[in-house]
Symmetry: C4
Subunit: 234 residues, 4 copies
């Protein structure tokens, strides 16, 4: 059970590197076994070349290490806050990928400028408030999770599997670790194309609600008709 | 006959990936056998790693599946609308390539800023109208084809083998599937260089008609003198 | 003799591709044997995968084919005009490399913003006049050479081995074909960094003349002290 | 002893190329043996393909060659000035990496826009004054070191292991040659993301001091809790 979870988290972390989203040790992926309340996460500061499935650390939802010789990622309290607050999450990914980080640093949400975005994210990708001094000086990594949760008061994390932490970078998530990485890849593409869209047409606004609905629901609604998944029932 | 068409469409889809124009399963290429009225197209949502010539789906011009176990690309109705409206087309390619998509999202045509553009596209690359609500809520993918066809009322699709669908991305075409991909590659280069041209000189306008004529006709006119094609007659 | 020249021109053309400066068949390099008045140049429209030393075409300075079964590059008359006008040139390179072409399309010279530029080009990289209608409708490729030569009325082509043809792209040259390609690589880097410099600081102007002199002469003057070339005499 | 130093400097120079920070021979890394007062540095103008550990040149702190058949990098006097002025430095790296050079050419410091920056550099990355005519015409490379040292009058080089030389490019340093290269890689990422941040939000200012403190000290303070280094004491 644990070995499978550690293997999946290991593979998702390695995929992060393969997709060109990380430099050195920047970035981490975790996964959760909801039945047992166990979270598997990348160890802190370990290079991808040295990472092994055995090196993945297991912690409980309060952050106590259950299994593993290495210290878990310093971002672990952020992951845990998200798992506790958003019950639908099975995997979480954090990177400093270039274009998503630009928007996070600029403290601007990513407008939904096109169907690539609408296929994956149901609306503009939100940016959190900047942490205030007390939040920074207190349990900083957990508070990073809290500003994300606060930003989602009116948002469904399953329809918006990405957020930009102000002055920092993106977090993405999904039903499992692999999907959280897939959403990180998509977010980076979307962020890059939105950046260029803005430079070509500074006054461009987001797409019509009808187009957003059409594309998002084409892939994610109960009547989804993209891919081969519902083929059998046709 | 069908096997050759499927093989060519398979190879054109794989070329799309080799040229770095696609992420995950975004993008599809089709080809047509005009004599038999058969269109071969990529199956929906299948990764390039899993794609095989056998997986290519055959449909008729009304979209009925003739051969293949997989569901055809969700963009099939767009391809079919173009094949029905533009008799000279032998292959069609759709991508979300980065720079072309920026222009599509910005809803700006790509001005003809130089000879690279003029060598391949006879004038600015057009952008369609945005689909209105009824077009989005109706047969959306077919209507995407219709806004393209409407945009070409005054344009010759053989002299302008590319279009930007507003808020979406590019479609390109050619005499066969391979050429539609080649035009997608050129469009991406042209879009990238036009983007930079605009940033370096926001007031730059398109090149003179005489230069456009010279370059386009040097490669495409009856007196073309580029390449080795007419060498024998010299 | 001819075989050596063809081999060097072949290798320089292949280097063009290896450095990522060309897409498809865009770009060509030539070299000259001044003693015999023979120019070797890439054949027109031949892909780099199919290019061989034997495919390189030999022409005289009037453009008559001396050796080779293929048609020479359609840009041959431009190369010849430059060889006839600038006696110090041993090799010429033409590309549509991305950043240099942006500046050419924007019709702006590349300011000398830093020492990378000053190490190789003695001042701003010039841009030609746009060709007028009569020049386009006449012997177009030769006239492209003429507008370059006209632009160099007050410039020394050996101190400025690069030019941007307006609405088109860069030509670079050197003492031999390999050096013309090296200058194309440097020009692309310089063009890219100048582009970013302008976006970060729109009001930035070129570096001081003293710094330009220092860097250019450090590498190219009679007292050059960069590299190992003059080591023995020390 | 010398052989180990030469090997480390050789490997750091090769890493520079592997990380895509150099074109041709642009860039050099040095290392120092403080006990013996010996500096090892890349030879001038030697390509990375031809570089060997044996080719690394040894000089003393006054620039006299102690060992090696090749001329040391023309930037050697800059390195030596830094080693003499900043006793904590064990390795120095100089490149013309694209994005860092853009900022240097634009003569703008890189604001601390986010935590990626704050994790490595304690504040904005400074830019030197431009050298004045007398500094350029005098011992230019040594004077380049002097303008860096002058810029650090109020800065701790161990907390700010990077500088942009105006109109030129970046220098970075660290406790050894490898760390100077690591800082060059980070600087390039930070410069790239700051560039995009500025284009997305031209009015963005640096992050709060509290956030800068938190991130920098999380990795570098005496209570650092990132990575596995202090794990044993926990």
């Amino acid at each position: 059970m644990s070995d499978q979870l550690k293997q999946r988290v290991y593979e998702a972390n390695m995929a992060l590197q393969r997709h060109g989203l990380v430099v050195f040790t920047w970035g981490n992926v975790s996964g959760i076994d909801r039945d047992r309340g166990v979270v598997a996460i990348k160890p802190s500061g370990v290079s991808y070349a040295d990472l092994t499935p055995q090196g993945i650390v297991l912690v409980d939802l309060q952050g106590n290490v259950i299994e593993g010789d290495l210290r878990p990622s310093s971002d672990t309290p952020t992951h845990l806050e998200l798992y506790r607050s958003f019950p639908g999450l099975g995997g979480i990914c954090h990177t400093h990928s270039r274009y998503a980080t630009m928007w996070a640093q600029a403290q601007r949400e990513i407008p939904c400028f096109g169907t690539t975005h609408a296929d994956h994210f149901y609306g503009p990708v939100p940016v959190t408030d900047a942490l205030v001094r007390d939040e920074i000086d207190g349990p900083y990594e957990q508070n990073t999770g809290r500003v994300i949760v606060r930003r989602f008061a009116q948002l469904d994390p399953l329809q918006m599997p990405a957020v930009l932490v102000a002055n920092h970078g993106p977090f993405t998530w999904g039903k499992d670790p692999a999907q959280s990485v897939e959403n990180a890849v998509v977010l980076e593409q979307v962020a890059m194309m939105a950046y260029g869209t803005l430079l070509v047409n500074a006054r461009q606004s987001g797409i019509a609600q009808a187009l957003l609905d059409r594309h998002y629901l084409r892939k994610h609604g109960k009547d989804a008709y993209y891919g081969q998944a519902n083929k059998a029932e046709e």
